[in-house]
Structures are given as structure tokens and as C-alpha cells.
Amino acid sequence: MKKKEEYKMTAKELCIGDIVDFNPLNKFYTGNWRSRKKPILDKNKCINCLICWISCPDSSIKVVSDDAKISIVDNIDYNFCKGCGICAMECKNGAIKMEEEKK
């Protein structure tokens, strides 16, 4: 299949002065160049120590508050995860495992 050509903005459409807008809806999903393995979270083993959260260089460990207002690990954001494996390495309880990615 022929790849669709990326649309390039004109001088009129571009923000002036080399400004790149921050827009959460922009699809700058850097997770699409993740290495071959990706981390899988096993919530049964997780004790919510948050070491993975503090170690992640890409802020891809998503943390939420539970009913008692305690921070717990919710999931891993694969839109930004690069598959570096630091979270799996740091996890003391083996709750994160690196698995081969299915293409």
C-alpha cells in the first residue's frame, strides 16, 4: 500500500516564530518507536510502592488515587513507553515483566 503523504503547513498556517503548540490531542505518540519488548503490569503482585512511577524516564506509569485517597499504580501508557525496562528492573515484587511485543 502506498504511504499517505504527510500534510505540511504553509507559512500562513504555522505558528509564528518557530512555536510548537502544546496540544494533548496532537498525536506526538513517541511510543511508536518502542524497542521490541514492552512492560506488562500484574496488578495482583503490585504493592503500589510507586518505585516504577518514580523511575520511569517517560512518565508512562499512570498513577491514580483509590477510594482511600492513596496513590496506586493504574496502568502503563504505551503511547509514550519506550520499552527501556527500568520499571521491570526496579520492581521489587516482580509485578512488571518485559514481554516480546506482538507486531
Binding site: 509564528i16 516564530g17 518557530d18 512555536i19 510548537v20 502544546f22
Partner: protein, 400 residues
């Protein structure tokens, strides 16, 4: 304590530097970063004294070089502050790479630039070599004939830069304007503050609720578009400059345009000049007019953006023109103003005037009334059909 502050406005004797410092006091920018250099040192010396005395609340950053001065000014401006600086000669040269960043990032910075020769040989006196070197840097350049114009240009520059989102350089001739005392009308603080208004940028980096990236890498795909934007912005700033001049006239009753015409409309011969020399040329024109010679003068105030079409129109019916440059482009051909004007004439289909290029006053060498009369005499000869080489630069008053 400085006692030369005139909050209610007054007609006073001031040097160019003092007048500019006074304008900066009235503008009261948020941030000023500067490094001292002759002949611009005094501007910052006086301005920083205003801060030290608690007269104004600006933030003054004493930096370690002009490169840092421009960098700090750029950063302050990007953060959302009204930022200004001032320099001269080598200082401007040292700012070089940052000048392009200020214009490329479209930051409304205003700089007081005191024209001085560029080393080597080292020389502290006035010529236009420094600012002419930055003519393609995307800065708006306003040249001043005297202290009053410098003061007025500084006030207008704030409005122009903030509307056009472009940096503006206000230049004065080193020593001739910067250190000579003249009568200057200082306007009341409240009128100046009302004229420039508050600075409310559309977007700024410290606005944490609306984050954005500034100065990202911009390769083959987009760099050209951004440079085109800059080019277009400079062109569009022409209208902004005229509108600000109009407003300025309404507020302070002083008329400004891209250029000033002095007895030019019916002139047969004319000189085009920038800066303080225009005052001397005016005197000569008046003398020649008394003798019945139709001499005229075009003094350029706005050199960037270059009012190409307008100048071509003004000069179209003149038989012989001398374009006086106080800088040399070392191109082996012609100096900057000459190149711009001749290109403007030719591109507008005007090929009849004979145009002579005169380079004068390098390193602050005085240009005398007699030398200007000599130039007009050459123009009279050219206008009457006598052959005179116009394809070379005439160096005025140099021992060849």
C-alpha cells in the same frame, strides 16, 4: 541621586544618551540587560541609576558580555516581559548570532544602538558600519538625526515592535548625537505611558496554563516557511510604522514618516543620507536654494523595512542623486544604502536619474559644509550632462 527627571515634561538640554535614558525611564521596561560600551555606556549608566534610586521598578541585569545581554533580553522577552537593551559597535557585533534569534523567534525587543566604527583599527567614533552589518538580521532599524528623534523613535519603537512582533533597533550617531547637548522636548510621563500602553503578549513562556515550545529544530520541511513569515512580517511592519507615526503625531505633534523630504519635491539634484549628517545637508540645501539652485535632501529614517517603492517614487524625477553612506560594504562595488536605492529605482522601472555613491565619515571623520557643497557641485555637473564616473564609489575626504 539623579535630579534630571522630568515627570511632567519639559523642554530641556540633553545629550542623545540622556534623552534615550529618559525615554527608557518613561517606558519603564520590565527587564533590561546590558553591558557597557563606548559611546552607549552612558545610557545604561543613567538608566541603572534610575533603578538604584528607586525611581523605576525595572529589573536590571548586569551581564558579563553583550552576547549575554542579548541572550538575557531574549529570554526575558520570551518569558513575557517588556525587555530592552543597548549597545554599540563591537558590542553589537558580539550580539550577532543572538540578533537573528531575537528576530527569528519574533520577540519584541527594543535596542538603543549608538553607531560606532567597527574594529580594526580600533576606533570609538561614529559611523554606520555596525548597524549596517545587521541590516539583514530581521530587525527593524530606525535612524535618528538628533536627540529629539532618538527620544521619539524610542517611544515609537515599543509600539512598533509589540505590534509587529519584531525587534527594533533605534540608532543614533556616536558622539555626534550621543554626547552632544541639544534642546529636547521631554513629554509628560503619563502621556508616554498612555501612548505605549501596557504590554500584554498573546503568548509567553511563563504562562504555565498554555505551554508551548519555542526554538525547536526546524529543518528542510519548515525552516523556509518560518523565514518567509519573517520576511513577510518585516514587509507588513511598514503599515504598522506609519500607523504608529500617525498616533504619535496625534499625541505629541511631531510628524514622522519612513523618510523626511527636505525641499525635494521640485529638486533637480538631491542627496540621500541617514543620521546626523542630514542636519548639515539641510543647511547646505538652504544656502543653495538661496542661490537659485534646485537642491533637495531625502533623509531616511526607516532603513529596515526599506521603503523601496516610496523612495523610488520620490527620486524618480530627480536628474542627479548622491547617496551618502557612512559605511563601506567592502564588496568591491557599492555601499549599503546605494545598493538598496539603486535596486529600488531599477526594479520600479526608473533608470533616468544618475546616481552617485559617496562614502564618507568612516571612523567618525567630520563631514564639512564645504564637502557637501562639493558633492552638490558634482551633481550639478552630472545633471547638466557633463560626464562623470558614477560606477565607482566616491570616497569623500580620504587621503588616497
Amino acid at each position: 541621586m539623579i535630579k534630571t527627571v522630568y515627570p511632567t515634561g519639559k523642554i530641556v538640554a540633553k545629550t542623545g544618551n540622556e534623552a534615550i535614558a529618559e525615554a527608557m525611564r518613561q517606558i519603564e521596561p520590565d527587564v533590561v540587560a546590558a553591558y557597557p560600551i563606548t559611546p552607549a555606556t552612558e545610557i545604561m549608566q543613567i538608566f541603572s541609576q534610575f533603578i538604584a534610586d528607586g525611581i523605576i521598578g525595572s529589573e536590571y541585569i548586569a551581564v558579563e558580555s553583550e552576547h549575554s545581554a542579548m541572550s538575557a533580553t531574549i529570554a526575558a522577552s520570551a518569558a513575557g516581559a517588556r525587555a530592552m537593551t543597548g549597545t554599540s559597535s563591537q558590542g553589537l557585533a558580539f550580539m550577532w548570532e543572538m540578533l537573528y534569534i531575537a528576530s527569528g523567534l519574533r520577540l519584541p525587543i527594543v535596542m538603543a544602538e549608538v553607531n560606532r566604527a567597527i574594529s580594526a583599527p580600533i576606533n570609538i567614533h561614529g559611523d554606520h558600519s555596525d548597524s549596517m552589518g545587521t541590516r539583514d538580521s530581521g530587525w527593524i532599524q530606525l535612524y535618528s538625526e538628533n536627540s529629539q528623534e532618538a527620544y521619539d523613535n524610542m517611544i515609537q519603537a515599543i509600539r512598533i515592535s509589540e505590534k509587529a512582533k519584531l525587534p527594533v533597533m533605534v540608532t543614533t550617531d556616536g558622539f555626534v548625537i550621543s554626547h552632544c547637548m541639544e534642546v529636547v522636548e521631554i513629554y509628560p510621563d503619563k502621556d508616554v505611558k498612555a501612548f505605549i500602553g501596557d504590554y500584554n503578549p498573546d503568548r509567553y513562556l511563563l504562562d504555565i496554563k498554555h505551554p508551548y515550545t519555542l526554538g525547536a529544530i526546524d529543518l528542510q520541511d519548515y525552516y523556509f516557511e518560518h523565514r518567509y513569515q519573517l520576511s513577510k512580517a518585516i514587509e507588513d511592519s511598514k503599515n504598522i510604522i506609519l500607523n504608529v507615526s500617525k498616533d504619535f503625531f496625534n499625541s505629541f505633534k511631531r510628524k514622522y514618516d519612513f523618510y523626511e523630504k527636505y525641499m525635494l519635491d521640485d529638486a533637480e539634484i538631491a542627496i540621500v543620507v541617514i543620521g546626523s549628517t542630514a542636519g548639515t545637508v539641510k543647511l547646505v540645501v538652504k544656502e543653495l536654494r538661496n542661490k537659485g539652485i534646485k537642491a533637495g535632501l531625502l533623509k531616511i529614517r526607516v532603513y529596515r523595512p526599506f521603503p523601496s517603492k516610496q523612495i523610488a517614487k520620490e527620486l524618480a524625477s530627480i536628474k542627479a542623486i548622491a547617496i551618502m553612506d557612512k559605511s563601506d560594504s567592502c564588496s568591491g562595488a557599492f555601499a549599503p544604502i546605494y545598493s538598496d536605492i539603486v535596486a529600488s529605482l531599477y526594479s520600479n522601472g526608473i533608470v533616468k536619474p544618475k546616481v552617485l555613491n559617496c562614502v564618507y565619515g568612516l571612523g567618525g571623520r567630520d563631514i564639512t559644509i564645504k564637502q557637501i557643497i562639493n558633492i552638490y557641485e558634482i551633481l550639478i555637473k552630472i545633471a547638466s550632462g557633463i560626464k562623470y564616473p558614477t560606477n565607482i564609489i566616491n570616497y569623500i575626504n580620504v587621503r588616497k
